[in-house]
Structure formats: structure tokens, C-alpha cells
């Protein structure tokens, strides 16, 4: 085993013995073990502040330590760290009593991801010609966009846990959220059943026109087109072949 390999295993093994070829009397090696966990826990707390509020700092730290051990960062951009925390939470028995926690984590990660995602200009939307020109084009989510379908009121829970503008959860209803960047802000908007069906059609069809034609209710095509244009205007949808980044 190379010396750094053995060092790296020891850093990630709390209460483990330090590598024998390191001279460190006085338990000094533990500083590296603590730094590793503390620094990454702080990074996760920055991305998942609502999760931390919901479970409390002590529980969050204990959960983060387990997660860091199981799923360490693979890239050095800490904003990217935690993509699989939601899945970890879903399988984390001590958090079982909070079944909505994993989806809230999905929402928080999607918001950070949206902030750092690539740019892509919206298609021109001014006038009937511009709209007609969209019909043959393929529609895709903006690089910043994530659709989160939850059995829980994820957005309401998120809003109820904003330190300065908390809004109590009124109705405990399932919510589907579309997270994306709109201009220079990250937004998440509720997606109703019709829009969800439209998105499913748009994202699998090879053109806007064929998506509209495939809708189960042909009378709804006008309203669906309007909704699609709104989503483009807000920055959630793009025509990947139609406009340059």
C-alpha cells in the first residue's frame, strides 16, 4: 500500500489507527479526521439548510458523518456535493419518521444545481411568426431545470422553514415542483396535473407540434401551447437545437 493510500484510508476511518509511517505523537492525526468530516458537513449544511433546520444540528451532523463516509465527494466543487444525499436520507432508518425529508433534500439540491448550471438563451417568442417557427422544434428542459414530483408538500415545507419569511404549511397535499433559474434568481414553481402531462409529452416528442398533437384532449392544445410559451419565457424550457447557449 502506498503511503498516501494508507493515509487517506486512515483519514476516513474515525477512531482508526493512524498510519505507522506518520510521526504524530499526542493524537494529532485525529485533526485530519475531524477536518475532513467538519469541512464537508459545513458544505452540506450550506446546500441543505432546510434539512438541517428540520432535523436539528446534532442529528444533521451525525447523518452527514455517515453520508460522508459512504459517499465522499468525487469532484472538488463543493456546490456539487450532496447530489445523492436525498437517496441516502430515503434509506436512512433514523429519519424514517420524516418521510418527506428526502424530497425536501431533492428540492434543496436542485436549487443549488440550478444556480450553477449552464446558460441557454430562450428562443425568440415575439409575434406569430416566432411561435410558428417553434412548432417543428424539439423542446427540452433548460440546463438549470429539475422536475421534482413528490407525495408531500415539498415547496410548502421549504417555505415554512425559511428563517426570515416562514409561511406555515396550510394543506398537506402532494406537490410537483419545477426548479430552474429565471434570469439571476432560482425559482421553484408548482406544476399542476395538466402541465405535468404537457411536460411529459414535450420532453419525449421530437417536436412541439407532435407533442401538442399527442395530447389526449385536442381541445386543450391552445391552452397547452400558451403554457409552453410561458415556461419558455420564464426560462424553464428551451429549444436545444434552435438557439445557441
Amino acid at each position: 500500500m502506498t503511503s498516501l493510500r494508507s493515509f487517506s484510508i486512515a483519514v476516513r476511518t474515525p477512531d482508526g489507527v493512524q498510519p505507522i509511517f506518520v510521526s504524530a505523537a499526542g493524537g494529532r492525526f485525529t485533526i485530519y479526521q475531524r477536518n475532513h468530516v467538519a469541512g464537508l458537513t459545513a458544505a452540506l449544511a450550506k446546500t441543505f439548510p432546510v434539512i438541517q433546520r428540520l432535523v436539528g444540528e446534532a442529528f444533521f451532523a451525525a447523518m452527514a458523518a455517515r453520508f460522508i463516509f459512504q459517499s465522499p465527494p468525487r469532484v472538488p466543487m463543493l456546490a456539487d456535493y450532496g447530489a445523492d444525499l436525498a437517496d441516502f436520507i430515503a434509506a436512512f432508518e433514523p429519519a424514517e419518521s420524516l418521510p418527506f425529508l428526502a424530497d425536501v433534500a431533492r428540492l434543496e439540491f436542485a436549487r443549488v444545481r440550478a444556480w450553477h448550471a449552464a446558460d441557454h438563451a430562450p428562443p425568440p417568442l415575439d409575434g406569430a411568426d416566432a411561435v410558428a417557427a417553434l412548432l417543428p422544434q424539439r423542446i427540452a428542459l433548460h440546463p438549470s431545470a429539475t422536475l421534482i414530483q413528490s407525495d408531500h408538500p415539498v415547496m410548502a415545507i421549504w417555505a415554512a422553514n425559511q428563517p426570515e419569511t416562514a409561511v406555515p404549511v396550510d394543506d398537506w397535499e402532494p406537490e410537483t415542483a419545477l426548479v430552474h433559474r429565471s434570469g439571476d434568481v432560482v425559482v421553484h414553481t408548482p406544476i399542476d396535473a395538466d402541465t405535468q402531462a404537457l411536460l411529459a409529452a414535450l420532453l419525449t416528442a421530437d417536436s412541439l407540434e407532435s407533442a401538442l398533437l399527442a395530447l389526449p384532449n385536442p381541445d386543450a392544445a391552445g391552452a397547452a401551447l400558451l403554457r409552453c410559451l410561458q415556461l419558455m419565457q420564464s426560462g424553464a424550457l428551451i429549444t436545444p437545437e434552435g438557439t445557441m447557449p
Binding site: G26, N35, G39, V75, P76, M77, W115, A117, D119
Partner: protein, 287 residues
């Protein structure tokens, strides 16, 4: 020796490590900052407002681009994807300086989010020198290599830290970043004399100085141990060593680093002013 060009470098003034808590003041031009230093890994977004901020900062200040994750001391090859991300920032804003650490941060695909100590031996020296050569050519600019703060040492080390740094600079043409707090932290932790360390440091190669705070504790054996916390005010001995170094070397670009327990801007601005006053005293003497 690489053919990497030397950028014009940072101005010999006092600058500040950027934190979002101070962003409004920094963008408003408060505190007479001579330059700002940014952590490269915080600006590796693919798009969005972060890149717009990067452009804005670069239009207002000379930028010191400071990397944490290149893992120059690592046993594995440098990550080409990471070098590409660094290169993209360098091409975008043409920083006045790029610096990295004499440390390792990744192994076996895991990023440790820490600067871990290397062995000071001939094998490691060749490896680090190769990595510095490779980085300088991939990035198209000379880098400054920073002396580390360490808590343990490798039993294999048979080189003095300063000789090790100087030899890498000699082989690769890289410059050095002298972190005076790290020099004090490592000296106390390993029983070296910080005064002697700084006396021997090859100041002619130094392109930037870092000043930061440390915390004091005791290890399990009751020995004094300094932690490179970046969460406290800069300690009096660090200021005294800094004044000595500037008296000998003349004005050098000097960064105030505070990365944890970020205080109000006024607090760090006062440290910037304190460094600027020391620089001004010796600029006048030199003139």
C-alpha cells in the same frame, strides 16, 4: 523547466480573500483593497450569476486565483478535468497570479476537502516538480507554490521543508507563496524556530504573502499545538514576522485570509489597512 510565461503579477499592496459576506463592500470598492483573492473551486459553475460575478470582480480588481484542489502533492496524475476548469477561469479573467499548495487533496477518486501533508523525500520531490511542470504548461502561466501548515510529519521525510520548496522552484521555475501563519503554525507544531524558518525562506522567489489567524490548543500529550483555523484575528507574532520579512524583501503583495467565523467587513478591512501601513513604511524606505 517549463516555458510558462510570468504574468505581470499582483501589485505589492494589501488584498483580501473574498467571502460572500463581504461582497457588497468589495463590489462598492470599500477598504482600499489592492487586489482580491478568490478560491478557484467556487467559480467553476458552468453558467449563471457566478460567472457574471467573476467578470465583474475581474473588471474591478487584480485577481489572485487560489486553488485548493489540484493536489500537486498527490500520488496520482493531475486530474485533466480539473485543470481544464482552472484553465477556463484563467482564459476568462487573466488573473494576475495563480497559486496552489504543497499538499495533496485527492486520492483514489475521493476529494478530501483538506490540504494533507506530503513526505519530504527525493521521490516526492520529483513527483511534485513533475506536477508543477505539468500544471504550468496546461494552465499557460507560472504558479506560486504555498508552504503548508501541518500537524504530523511523514517518517520518510529527509528534506528540510524550505530546501524542498526551493528545489521545486529551481527545477520548475515556479514562484512561492509565503504563508507566514503557516510558517508559524508548522514551526510550533514540529519544534522548528519560526524566526530561523523565515530567515531561510527564499524571499526572491516569493510572489505573494498570506496572513491569517490560528488557534491554540494542546494535543493529547499536553504539547502546544497551533491549528491553522483562519477563524481568528492575525496573531501578534505573525504581524511581527511579517514586518521583518517586508523589511528584508521590500513590499510584496499581501493577502488577508479569513475563511471561518467571518466577521464584519470593517474587521478584515482593519487588517488590510495594518498590512498596507507596513508595506507603505518600507515602500518609502525603498524609494
Amino acid at each position: 523547466m517549463t516555458a510558462a510565461a510570468s504574468p505581470p503579477g499582483l501589485p505589492p499592496s494589501a488584498g483580501l480573500g473574498l467571502h460572500r459576506e463581504h461582497l457588497d463592500e468589495v463590489l462598492a470598492g470599500a477598504g482600499r483593497l489592492g487586489f482580491i483573492e478568490i478560491h478557484a473551486e467556487n467559480f467553476m459553475s458552468k453558467g449563471g450569476p457566478t460567472l457574471a460575478l467573476l467578470d465583474r470582480l475581474a473588471s474591478q480588481y487584480p485577481i489572485s486565483l487560489h486553488g485548493l484542489a489540484l493536489s500537486l502533492g498527490g500520488e496520482e496524475r493531475l486530474d485533466p478535468a480539473h485543470m481544464q476548469r482552472l484553465r477556463r477561469i484563467i482564459d476568462r479573467i487573466a488573473p494576475a497570479s495563480f497559486s496552489e499548495h504543497l499538499a495533496w487533496a485527492s486520492h483514489d477518486g475521493i476529494y478530501f476537502n483538506d490540504l494533507l501533508p506530503i513526505a519530504y523525500d527525493a521521490t516526492t520531490l520529483s513527483r511534485v516538480a513533475d506536477h508543477v511542470d505539468e500544471a504550468q504548461s496546461a494552465l499557460g502561466m507560472r504558479l506560486l507554490l504555498e508552504n503548508p501548515s501541518t500537524y504530523v510529519s511523514h517518517a520518510a521525510s529527509n528534506w528540510d521543508e524550505i530546501d524542498f520548496l526551493a528545489e521545486i522552484a529551481r527545477r520548475t521555475g515556479c514562484g512561492l507563496l509565503l504563508d507566514i501563519n503557516n510558517a508559524v503554525v508548522s514551526s510550533v507544531n514540529h519544534g522548528w524556530d519560526p524566526q530561523a524558518y523565515l530567515q531561510r525562506f527564499p524571499l526572491a522567489q516569493v510572489g505573494e504573502i498570506h496572513l491569517a489567524g490560528h488557534s491554540e490548543t494542546r494535543d493529547d500529550a499536553g504539547q502546544l499545538l497551533l491549528i491553522d483555523s483562519h477563524g481568528e484575528a492575525i496573531a501578534a507574532p505573525v504581524w511581527a514576522h511579517y514586518a521583518d520579512v517586508i523589511a528584508r524583501a521590500g513590499p510584496l503583495p499581501t493577502l488577508i485570509e479569513r475563511d471561518n467565523d467571518i466577521p464584519d467587513f470593517a474587521v478584515v478591512a482593519a487588517e488590510v489597512a495594518q498590512a498596507a501601513a507596513i508595506l507603505a513604511r518600507h515602500a518609502r524606505k525603498a524609494a
